[in-house]
Amino acid sequence: MDNTKPTILIELDPETRSKHLNRAKAWFDNVLLTQGSCRQLVEDTVEKIEEPHIKQYLAEMAEQEKNHEAKARELFSVIGREPSDIRQLLGTVTGKARQALGDFIAVAGGAEVPWQDLHQVYLSNYNSMGAFAVAEQLGLALGFPAIVDVTFPVIAEKSTSQLLLQECVLEMCSMSILYKEDF
């Protein structure tokens, strides 16, 4: 090797690298926030549903959501950063706030509880799935396979949950809106 000409590193100097990792960390806080919100919504919605099959689907989903939240925390350790406590708290608060908003929309739109809660879970899962998907892209952009290892299984599970939630929301909308009945 010719040592008279040193190799040039492109955007791998400590300063640039640290800046990129700090920016990724800010997004990981978002992942934790949206996931905390989603987990809270799923847990609370399970209690409101009586129909045994949908209740079972959501109960299993709630267990997954706890694991997804743990996975969101793992993202920080991969890049040597700590999550922001305030954003975690915000996630839970946001989950509660969305329920309140969901109840309001349910009344205004003529839909009954718990369908509107289910609809909120549907949107919330989509939101958190998107946040994980962005984190995965950041992992690829930064050259971190461990970030992909964390996010890919979560996105796959959430993608399956999204199909399930969509199906439940579409199946039960007529019960809620036309017949004004809960389930």
Partner: protein
């Protein structure tokens, strides 16, 4: 606001300019501990080249680089970024410029797919772009900042890549573009995102063809229900063909190679039926050769054991403007060996066997100048013109490497490629020139060697071969993930005692 397809699908140019680039220097020791876990180690000692040659890493941390070129004074240009292979993550679309002084800067551009090639010619930079429904060839003047789109009519928006531009001894510009479809029919077996971005994209023949009406049945992943649709050759996804239907050949087709004046005027179609002419090179005698990649063994039109190949484009020998009938090299119905895709030697072990699509195929312009192992993924290449480097007259070809097990179930395809070969185009033979100690990408066995060579070009003085290494792309039976900041530019030089 325009609503017609031709206006909506027209590219509108893009902004371009120069910016500073954050760089640092690294010692050999520092290259053993890089901050990119996907590729933490770069070590030239792990790379095998013939005795009498040395290898060194020049640039490390490139993001999805595609091509390299040189100004006459030795300035290095490396195109990288954009939405490439796979389409995400998008990394800044730019050309990295390293001046002979060592100063490194970037030409940045706001264009989604990014530059797929870069060529310095007569003091200006020529680049080919994907993105949108048409590929583009652009010319950029570094002194004035002027950007001019020279070519913007070639149907793209699908799977394969632009080729060139390169310039011949005749001063003409030679360029190409691969097929929109991956397997001869637009199917979701390629990245589904193409169907969302460019639902009307399709292949276009270079000559009039009559269709067999053999359509391919598949699911439409865009639909909320499990819609099954039929798609025909030279049609957008979901549009079936009729038996006996004639598709008119066009100058601006795809799976094709053209030439024009350097300003993009007087375009002449030389050849079509070339699935992916990403690599193009011309020797000192003016003979044009292009790489081409094989069909995949998967999905609804599955084809096995199709060799990678290098085609000799004999029409390039004809006087400019005299080619009335383009030569046909077989796509979408023939494999690289000239056998039809439904021949028993090409029947797949998975997926739906292919049927023929063209009822009246033109005469085949093969055989190939060189056949390579399937899925080697031959990319950009360059003829050696220097006795100083050795192997003068031979064609050096970068092999990106296999996408198996994603595109082939065969274990023997797993480590095809991942090297640079030198091809004797007269004899149709090749020898490995640069590879790892164990065949395959370095990341597969934690070495500091090469990953996926995507381009190789000789320096203007002919003393060195630069090999551009795309970086880490991990493949599984279901997907492919590529990691940015893992690309490397390697330099191979013949030792002083051997080069006189």
């Amino acid at each position: 606001m325009a609503t017609d397809n031709s206006t909506l699908h027209r590219n509108t140019g893009f902004s371009i300019g120069k910016t500073e680039l954050k760089t640092a220097t690294a010692s050999r020791q520092e290259l053993q501990d890089l901050p990119t876990p996907a590729r933490p180690l770069i070590d030239a000692a792990d790379v095998v080249v013939p005795d009498g040659y040395t290898v060194e890493p020049v640039l490390v941390g490139l993001s999805f680089p595609t091509d390299i070129s040189f100004a006459d004074d030795g300035t290095i240009f490396v195109s990288e970024g954009g939405s490439s292979w796979p389409t995400r993550p998008y990394m800044p679309a730019r050309v990295i410029v390293q001046h002979p002084s060592g100063k490194t800067e970037a030409i940045t551009m706001n264009v989604q797919a990014g530059p797929r090639s870069v060529t310095w010619h007569n003091g200006e930079l020529y680049m080919a772009f994907k993105g949108g429904y048409h590929m583009q060839i652009a010319r950029y003047n570094l002194d004035t900042g002027d950007l001019k789109i020279l070519i913007d009519q070639i149907p793209s928006g699908g799977w394969h890549e632009p080729g060139g531009p390169i310039f011949g001894p005749d001063g003409l510009m030679y360029f190409g573009h691969g097929s929109v479809s991956q397997q001869g029919v637009c199917l979701p077996a390629g990245f589904t995102v193409d169907l969302a971005k460019h639902p009307n994209a399709h292949d276009v023949p270079g000559q009039d063809v009559t269709l067999t009406g053999n359509n391919v049945r598949s699911r439409d992943p865009r639909m909320p229900y499990p819609y099954m649709v039929e798609t025909g050759a030279f049609k957008p996804f979901g549009a079936p063909a009729k038996k006996g239907e004639v598709i008119k050949g066009e100058l601006f087709c795809n799976s094709a190679v053209w030439r024009s004046r350097p300003d993009g005027t007087d375009v002449e179609l030389l050849a079509w039926g070339i699935r992916n002419p990403f690599g193009m090179a011309m020797n000192e005698a003016g003979e044009l050769y292009v790489t081409d990649n094989d069909f995949e063994e998967k999905g609804e039109r599955s084809i096995a054991n199709d060799p990678d190949r290098i085609w000799h484009i004999k029409n390039a020998r004809e006087p400019f403007g005299s080619v009335k009938t383009p030569a046909w090299y077989g796509f979408p119905d023939l494999c690289g060996d000239g056998l039809p895709v439904n021949h028993e030697s090409h029947l797949p072990s998975r997926g739906t066997p292919a049927e023929l699509l063209i009822e009246n195929p033109p005469a085949w312009a093969g055989p190939a100048a060189f056949l390579e192992q399937p899925h080697s993924c031959m990319c950009k290449m360059d003829f050696c013109r220097s006795e100083v480097f050795g192997y003068s007259g031979e064609l050096f070809v970068a092999e990106w490497g296999s996408l198996a097990p994603l595109n082939s179930p065969r274990p023997e395809d797993l480590n095809h490629g991942f090297r640079v070969i030198r091809v004797n185009v007269q004899k149709g033979t090749a020898e490995p020139f640069m590879h790892n100690r164990k065949m395959g990408p370095a990341s597969a066995f934690n070495s500091g060697g090469i990953e996926r060579p995507v381009s190789c070009k000789f320096s203007p003085d002919g003393k060195s071969l630069y090999v551009l290494d795309f970086g880490v792309a991990k493949v599984t039976p279901g997907n492919m993930l590529a990691f940015a900041h893992t690309g490397v530019l390697w330099k191979i030089t013949r030792k002083e005692e051997n080069n006189g």
